[in-house]
Amino acid sequence: MSENGKQSGNGRRSFLKAADRIRELGTKGIAGQVVSLAIVVVLFTVGTAGGYLSVNNILTILSLAGIPMIICLGIHQIVIIGAMDLSTEGVISLCAVVAGFLIKNPFTPYDIGFWVIPVAVVLGAFIGVINGLLNTKVKMPSFIATLGMWWVAQGIAVIIGKGNAVKMLDQRMQNIANGDLFGLPNTILIALVLFVGLQILQKRTRFGTHMYAIGGDETLARQAGIPVDKVKITTFAITGAFYAIASLLLVARLASSNPRTGNNMLFPAMTAVAVGGVSLSGGIGGALNAVFGTLIVTALNNGMVLMKVSPYIQNAVNGVVLITAVALTIDRKKIGIIK
């Protein structure tokens, strides 16, 4: 028995060692992500006899990736500061319902046109601020605060929308979400603009440096005089604003809003964060990782659809991908107690 135990111990140790090496590779930029994406592409290109790599399908993948990418770009910032945000789906649904009633629709007389954009963004940011306040001032773990906020926002969305689907009649908004520029889908272009903005924020501003400092070691960051609470609350607000943008695009693309608009948005985004190599313990990885993470996840799912894999198996594959990505990239040295 003891012999057995020793062997499994060795096996575990060599797995951890290998994982550490892969993590090192992963955290040194996006080399690991590029390789993973290439593997996915090659696999499905062979599997579909080339159909996967057609221009049409690549554009499909990009158009599918746009909105999840915006959500992932939002959520990964929270992960960088070493916190967690689960309120994603609630915030998206609430922004969708509010926007749906404010823009041209069959239920209310309001039609504020493009003004709906700033209104939704402010609403998303406002919920982010509440998340941030709960985390920093009330000193709740962000995991719990945002889990609660998910249901609060979801509940309000149902109360306001009364569970109805609301048709969106504004053609211009629909054109934004469904149109393209030089052949590239608008959603992915919007995501890329947000990516560039975030990249500058993270690498070229004091705020960005402070985000990483907090993710690296919050106590030391506080000792160095960084306004930790302010930075965290602002990060939650920016993330909320990203959810709002994603929400508007979802509504415009479907020409309809309802209190379930945000459903099933959290899991792919969180998978993309992990697959992209943003460390869940905070401080490592950036916007580029979020972009690649989303591309990998979207490319994988599109491939599975093309190969007619059963949706249930697709779900399971996504779950395996998330667990594997975290198992390979987590920094075990930093973790004392797992809760």
Binding site: R204, R206, Y212, L220, A221, A224, G283, I284
Partner: protein
């Protein structure tokens, strides 16, 4: 109190500070002069770290004043201290591992480099390079990730950061406090480091804290010795000798029968624990021990000597890399504390609130924690057995508690310690490792714990202790093992009629 006739840059006057249960500083006066290296020495617990924390504003003194350049100083925190040119390089370091070197250097002070809201990375890089070259790291890439650097490099970066900050806030002659800076350095690095300090001295005051007295003597212009929270002596660097400082550090108080020496028993012939060539990479190696039944052995050494790790390996908290442990004639391997407990080895940790006790549980639950197997009736815990067992050990160990169901968090430190001991006795431990058993306990309760330790030894238990003071170690043990830098330097026997003095021992420690 002396007046401002001297040319001190920072004067500490009558600094007192107490923590619950301990008086850390009992009215200390110290001057720090411009352009000098001042060595600060004292045993563990002499008050050095508290004094440093007060100087950088991490702690506020209960009484006393700090006078900086003739002005009375009131510091709100380390940030305020840095703005006045007082900075400290901590032993454990305060660099954020995932940031680049330059981000760490300028952290919290980036305004300098902002233009239209954006950081001027090029300028940051140039300034960082410049600063790094003043501490001999001119070749280091300022964009390197700090976590990948050596401890020595991190330390130098931290010094570079403090120098830059003092320049930025226009402070002439900053005060740099270095806490045990050489412990993380290799032999060759130390020499380079000392060369740099001699260079830095031309424009800064350096407070050098170290347990390595040879280094302090050779480097310092002036040496201040603290002892039990008191200012003990000030020596000039030229006249000081290692022996002389040792004598001052130890002092001359030795009370008779302080540690219940008359109850000391000789160990029997049976060997309870045998350790051969135990080692853990980078911390200690070649540790041998034959622990007899009924014997008290004390492990002595400074922080970082490896004695803490030895105990961790013996109690299963860490896994030794080499060597073997033999308990009652059988070779054992400890992968976790559970294995050690199964071999009747118990541990009474220094941090009893977090490690020794489940403070949210009550007295009875804590005492029964390790013997729940024996408390069963038809597979379920039997409250009657639990109660009987708890009552027995409360009586046995003289725990003063209002009731069995009192949460341990409400007991005094001494009584909590007794509950921890009761827990191990209930579990029939044969070997106990006591890590600072009397830390933070008042005098009366201390005596009871000494008595208890003697009784345990007399009952045939073997004990390994690490104490708060050298006197306590000498007083309690039958035999002491002295460690330094991961090696055993000396074994000293301490029979009750012929105890060595602290002075005999300290030479092997530092």
């Amino acid at each position: 109190m002396s007046t401002g006739t001297n040319n001190a840059i920072l004067e500490l006057r009558g600094i007192r500070k107490s923590y619950p249960g301990v008086i850390a500083l009992k009215g200390v006066d110290i001057d720090i002069k411009p352009c000098e290296i001042m060595g600060l020495v004292g045993e563990n617990g002499a008050g050095k770290s508290t004094l440093m924390k007060i100087m950088i504003g991490l702690q506020k003194p209960d009484e006393g004043t700090l006078v900086l350049r003739g002005e009375t100083l009131s510091l709100d925190g380390p940030q305020a201290a840095i703005r006045r040119g007082i900075g400290m390089v901590f032993q454990e370091g305060c660099m954020i591992p995932n940031l680049s070197v330059m981000d760490n250097m300028f952290l919290g002070h980036e305004e300098e480099f902002r233009r239209f809201g954006f950081l001027r990375r090029g300028l940051m890089r140039t300034v960082a390079s410049e600063q790094l070259s003043t501490v001999g790291l001119g070749k280091l890439d300022p964009a390197a990730i700090t976590g990948s650097l050596s401890a020595a490099q991190k330390q130098m970066i931290e010094i570079a950061r403090l120098l830059w900050l003092s320049k930025r806030y226009g402070v002439e002659n900053p005060i740099l406090i270095l806490d045990e800076p050489t412990t993380v350095l290799q032999e060759g690095e130390t020499r380079i480091f000392f060369g740099l300090l001699a260079e830095l001295k031309k424009r800064a005051s350096i407070v050098f804290i170290s347990h390595r007295l040879e280094e302090v003597v050779s480097l310092s212009d002036r040496i201040v010795v603290l002892k039990d929270g008191n200012f003990m002596a000030e020596l000039s660097g030229k006249e000081a000798t290692v022996k002389g400082i040792e004598r001052l550090m130890v002092g001359h108080e030795l009370a008779e029968e302080h540690y219940r020496e008359s109850m000391q028993v000789e160990g029997s012939d049976g060997i309870a624990l045998e350790v051969e060539g135990l080692g853990l990479a980078n911390t200690f190696s070649g540790f041998d021990l034959k622990l007899r039944k009924g014997e008290i052995v004390s492990l002595v050494g400074l922080l970082g000597s490896g004695k803490e790790e030895v105990c961790k390996c013996l109690t299963g908290a860490e896994k030794a890399d080499e060597g073997k442990i033999v308990v009652e004639g059988k070779t054992v391997h400890f992968a976790s504390p559970k294995d050690a407990i199964a071999k009747s080895i118990g541990c009474i940790p220094i941090d009893r609130r977090n490690e020794g006790l489940a403070t949210s549980l009550d007295v009875s639950e804590n005492i029964n924690l390790l013997v729940l197997d024996k408390m069963r009736f038809l597979g379920f815990l039997d409250p009657r057995k639990e109660k009987a067992n708890a009552q027995q050990w409360i009586r046995e160990c003289l725990v003063k508690t209002p009731g069995l169901r009192t949460p341990c968090s409400t007991l005094s430190g001494g009584n909590q310690q007794k509950v921890v001991i009761a827990k191990w006795l209930a579990a029939a431990a044969r070997i106990l490792v006591l890590d600072h058993p009397t830390r933070g306990i008042d005098v009366g309760a201390k005596d009871e714990i000494y008595r208890r330790i003697r009784e345990l030894a007399a009952a045939g238990l073997s004990l390994i202790v690490m104490c708060d003071t050298l006197e306590e170690d000498i007083g309690l043990c039958n035999r002491m093992i002295v460690m330094k830098d991961g090696k055993v330097t000396k074994e000293i026997s301490c029979p009750k009629e012929a105890k060595p003095t602290a002075l005999d021992v300290i030479g092997y420690i530092v």
